[in-house]
């Protein structure tokens, strides 16, 4: 029963105009960043590295495809999760709004299967968007700017050779996917709770901002710093620290995956217990 439900959910998702608006928004942001980098990137980079050039000699072009990929990757902080959360929560809130959820529940379909199919659809959509973002950026950034070493500022300037940089960017995208899945899962669960699209968008945006603020906050309690979910949403960023602690990143990702499953289970439980109507 799950496969037909999944097929139908994906069919509906890609027939909705808002899905294509979301995809267009993601690609437009990517295009704007690349265009800005093409015209102004070199000047900005010169300003940033001006002091260092007096002490060091830089070989090759630092405004390259890897740097652009890293910049695009930073859209995982806010704009990408926000767009994904809006689309994901609409999977349920639009059904409530248009009365189609009632029609669905009047068919021979179980509640838990329907809502699980919606969570899986949201996962698939999130993965597809991230893959599309990475693929289009790779094609455009490497064809326009070429490859080269990556310079990243994370408290200190870290330099990575081109091959190493690409490997880390790929891993960061994979880790970033888990972070995006976490946010989209929360938004779908919020949709089940709040039912109305506008309320759910506001709550999702609030949740995203709150996570960003809590990520920066210092709680002074080691357990909170290690296990509280806002502290795990930036695991992808750790791939650009010079000394790579793979075990720590893996643990962060596993914990975040656990939180994602937890929020999904809460959503499934609430949906199956709540009356429709």
């Amino acid at each position: 029963m799950m496969i037909p439900l999944l097929k139908v959910e994906l069919f509906k998702l890609f027939r909705e105009s808002k899905t294509w608006y979301a995809i267009a928004a993601v690609l437009l942001i990517e295009g704007i960043i690349l265009t800005a980098a093409y015209y102004q990137g070199a000047t900005i980079l010169e300003l940033l590295l001006d002091n260092l050039r007096q002490s060091f000699y830089f070989e090759g072009n630092l405004l390259n495809g890897n740097l652009l990929l890293y910049i695009i990757l930073n859209s995982l902080w806010f704009n990408l999760p926000l767009i994904l959360m809006i689309v994901s929560s609409a999977l349920i809130t639009e059904e409530y709004k248009n009365g189609t959820l009632k029609t669905l529940m009047l068919q021979a379909v179980s509640k838990w299967q329907l809502i699980t199919a919606k969570y899986i659809t949201s996962f698939i959509f999130t993965a597809l968007i991230l893959a599309l973002l990475m693929l289009t950026t790779c094609i455009l950034a490497y064809s326009i700017f070429g490859s080269g070493d990556l310079v990243v500022y994370l408290g200190t300037l870290n330099f990575f050779p081109a091959e190493e940089a690409f490997k880390r960017i790929c891993l960061a995208f994979a880790s970033g996917l888990l972070s995006m899945l976490f946010f989209t899962t929360v938004s779908l669960t919020l949709g089940i709770l709040l039912k109305e699209p506008a309320k759910t968008w506001i709550a999702s945006a609030f949740f995203l901002i709150l996570c960003s603020l809590l990520l920066k906050a210092d709680f002074g309690v080691p357990a909170v710093e290690r296990f509280f979910f806002p502290k795990l949403t930036n695991a992808w960023q750790h791939f650009f620290e010079y000394d790579l602690d793979l075990n720590s990143i893996l643990m962060d990702n596993l914990l975040l995956a656990g939180y994602t499953v937890f929020f999904a289970l809460i959503g499934i439980y609430l949906f199956t217990k709540k009356d429709i109507g």
Binding site: M1, T100, T103, G277
Partner: protein, 283 residues
């Protein structure tokens, strides 16, 4: 087929349903009559399993995957999809036949055209109701529940929907439909339940229930206001139309006398208000 006993449901705003019992039988069209907010939709949601009652029992004698098909409030359709696509996806999710021939069969069964390729947001309310019914009938339910199916329909749409409902009942489907409009239910229901404030206030076979209560009839004929036979019964007069007060037993004789006086009566419509049906048991 379906037996609901002593159903109760309360919301924060108050009691929506109080000890309500109802029975549906194969091939019988039952009507649920009540004002807006009387508890009709709550009852339907409980019967369809969308809402859990606080108390009461619901027994459905069916072994089918989908015993009840329903359209509750407005038909919930994907407005950006065509009628064909709507039917196809609702069929697919419950593993009902979803091939081209089957879906076209569903469309034809409710009298929808096969050549409409535009999204259902362009459809008239009547067509949306029909599509909603086609979706409700997927997977061959034995019971069909329709909530206010006539609202928003023009007279042609109402007549056509009544014809469809009667055809479905002839296929041994138990049908329950609600309305706050007496005339429509009167035209197609075999049995009537009257609900008010969440309470069952009256019930019975349509003819028996209404015949005992009808006391006003509207007669239409050319210059009928001049008819001498009708003068003792006259309530209101308009051009070519009069309302008279009499019992259902008197009406055949009165009509006979009117015809003998030379007035060709073209219609005789019994008038009954919802209030008349609510009052008897409530008293």
């Amino acid at each position: 087929m379906l037996q609901a006993t002593d159903l109760n449901k309360s919301y924060k705003s108050g009691k929506a349903l109080h000890n309500f019992s109802i029975q549906l039988k194969s091939g019988v069209i039952a009507g649920l009559l009540g004002r807006n907010g009387a508890g009709k939709t709550t009852l339907f949601k409980i019967l369809c399993g969308l809402v859990t009652p606080d108390h009461g029992t619901l027994a459905i004698a069916s072994k089918r995957a989908k015993p009840i098909g329903a359209v509750i409030e407005q038909p919930g359709l994907y407005s950006y999809l065509t009628a064909y696509e709507n039917l196809k996806i609702f069929a697919q999710i419950q593993k009902a036949p979803a091939d081209l021939k089957s879906v076209e069969g569903y469309l034809e069964s409710v009298g929808l055209p096969l050549n409409r390729k535009d999204p259902v947001r362009n459809f008239s309310m009547g067509m949306k109701q029909r599509l909603g019914i086609a979706i409700a009938l997927l997977n061959d339910p034995e019971i069909l529940i329709l909530d206010e199916p006539f609202s928003g329909l023009d007279p042609t749409g109402v007549a056509s929907l009544i014809k469809l409902i009667k055809e479905l009942a002839a296929q041994d489907i138990a049908i329950l439909l609600s309305s706050h409009l007496m005339t429509e239910l009167q035209k197609c229901c075999d049995y009537l339940y009257v609900i008010d404030g969440g309470i069952l206030v009256n019930e019975g076979e349509t003819n028996t229930l209404l015949d005992g209560l009808i006391s006003v009839y509207t007669l239409t004929a050319t210059n009928i206001q001049a008819c001498a036979v009708l003068q003792p019964y006259l309530l209101t007069t308009e051009k070519n139309t009069v309302s008279i007060t009499c019992s259902s037993e008197q009406i055949p004789a009165i009509l006979q006398n009117v015809l003998e006086e030379g007035f060709a009566v073209t219609s005789c419509v019994p008038n009954i208000t919802l209030e008349q049906l609510v009052i008897p048991l409530a008293k």
